[in-house]
């Protein structure tokens, strides 16, 4: 009897073992490896050699890294506000006509880019922009833009990539915003109407303040994902022209697989990890303060 009980104590641990093993190996293992190898000289083929803080000193002398950090920050600064603005605008517009055919169709259409692979999105947009098709040229011509130059010139490539990333993600953030819009009780709006508030007042006095936690959340998710962009850039520009779209993750990738400097690549990854961590902590503070205000 006692023995049976002794074994049954272990049952819950058996249930959590599979996922714990996976996360321990892949996530915790990676974190440890990243820290250990960042102090070594390592090219994935020959054994790693300890070289102290050399990689960390190298960070400060690396002009390429500086460009990559700037590119990553540029992407984040363009993507996050644009992503928040478009997704909130569309959520508000769709919420007003949730049950109409047009509203449903817009919601569905916005979701199509979200569920396609970034490889598909990257390839299709690259083909459209580079193809020089007469119809495409005509559409962009209305705005006075030469589509083949959008990804081809180092000034506009990063903005173009950012816009396409926003295009791909806006449906996702729209759904999050829409679902919290739907949870605002109707009687708030009814009371406001009785008091004579117009649509604009309702939007700025009720909807947006109540959406604030969701918007902060969206902003945070968009920031964290913008800082680690890799696949869209890889498929659309490969980091070019002349490094104008090389992000930090891409730089780490290139260092490892093209430059065989995996040790230094992990030092770069750690810098990015720290940057993201700062944002996470900042957001936690922000959220908590916001919650205590209510």
């Amino acid at each position: 009897m006692k023995k049976k009980k002794g074994l049954s104590v272990l049952v819950p641990y058996a249930y959590i073992t599979p996922i714990s093993l996976i996360l321990l190996t892949f996530v915790a293992g990676s974190l440890i490896i990243a820290v250990c190898f960042s102090f070594t000289r390592y090219n994935i083929i020959t054994p790693a050699k300890f070289n102290g803080l050399y990689n960390y000193q190298k960070l400060f002398r690396d002009d390429k890294l500086r460009i990559c950090i700037m590119n990553t920050l540029k992407l984040t600064v363009i993507i996050v506000p644009l992503q928040l603005f478009t997704s909130t605008l569309f959520a508000v517009l769709i919420a007003a006509r949730q049950n109409t055919f047009l509203g449903k169709l817009t919601k569905a259409a916005l979701f199509i880019p979200v569920l396609s692979s970034s490889a598909v999105v990257g390839t299709v947009w690259k083909t459209i922009l580079n193809g020089g098709h007469p119809v495409v040229r005509a559409i962009f011509g209305i705005f006075g833009i030469d589509p083949t130059m959008l990804l081809g010139s180092s000034e506009s490539a990063i903005v173009t990539v950012a816009c396409i990333i926003v295009w791909k993600g806006m449906g996702y953030y729209m759904i999050i915003t829409l679902s919290s819009l739907m949870s605002i009780p109707d009687n708030y709006y009814e009371a406001a109407k009785v008091d004579g508030a117009n649509t604009w007042n309702q939007l700025t006095r009720i909807t947006l303040p109540l959406l604030k936690p969701t918007l902060i959340m969206n902003g945070f998710l968009a920031t964290v994902s913008a800082m680690q962009i890799f696949d869209m850039v890889y498929t659309m520009t490969g980091g070019g022209p002349s490094m104008s779209t090389t992000t930090m993750v891409m730089y780490a990738y290139q260092l490892t697989f093209k430059g065989s400097k995996a040790g230094y690549a992990m030092t770069v990854s750690n810098v990015l990890m720290l940057m993201v961590l700062v944002i996470v902590l900042f957001q936690q503070r922000f959220m908590r303060r916001d919650a205590s205000e209510i």
Binding site: I94, S117, P134, V135, T214, M217, A252, S269
Partner: protein, 269 residues
Amino acid sequence: MKKVLRLFVSLFLICIILICTLPFAYMILMSLKSTINAYDFRFSLDTMSLQQYRKIFANPSFVRYFINSVIVAVAGVFLTLFTSCTAGYAFAKLKFKGNDKIFLCLILTMLVPSEVILVPLYIVVRGLGWVNTFKALILPLPTAFGVFIMRQAMLAIPNELLESAKIDGASSMKILWSVVLPLVKSAMLTLSIFTFLGAWNNFTWPLIITTEDALRTLPLALTTIKAQYDVDVGLTMACATVTFLPPFIFYLALQSKFEAGAALSGMKS
């Protein structure tokens, strides 16, 4: 005035629909052209052909990519469901030492940005000798997010239900299988959809961890086919369409679940 505004908003929504769908329409139209006139935009039906699709499916390595994608996505869904449901059940309904603390530790792993640890993850998997194996493609798919979702869903199940099953002599495995899981079907479906979508669309990880054609997945085909056929637009677009269609069909069939899942995944942190 109000009517004008309403009309304006309607027009704006139509613009959004066009902006979101036209690139995909372009992709499908291009894939139906033979290569010589891929940039020829006449809509006459007689110039359309399935020639490009015949060509890609005649290519054995493309068929391999397709099968690999299916294997990885389906195995990923089952592995995620298995690990998330068992762990979710333990965290939600079983009492054991360190329950809260272990759960918190697992949840903290969600804060680790996935693309940032690509290089160290590659070294871990390489150290295990798993480069170019299905293990490497499938095993890292489950995340703590699945555990979180399943735990939340299972917390809502009343304890009395489980206790009465226990009195009837059911083992905890039996309780999980025949009492708990049927009650959280909806959460399981949502989690499956999102795992499938993530695994099917994943580009970066397969790119890094596979070097042999035999293990590569569909999104990678888009970059390799281009190199093989020297920028054959029609062919690339056919390949993109094949990569795009399975998640799209899933979406059409399970639209509301997709939306619930997206809204849910936004609340993860």
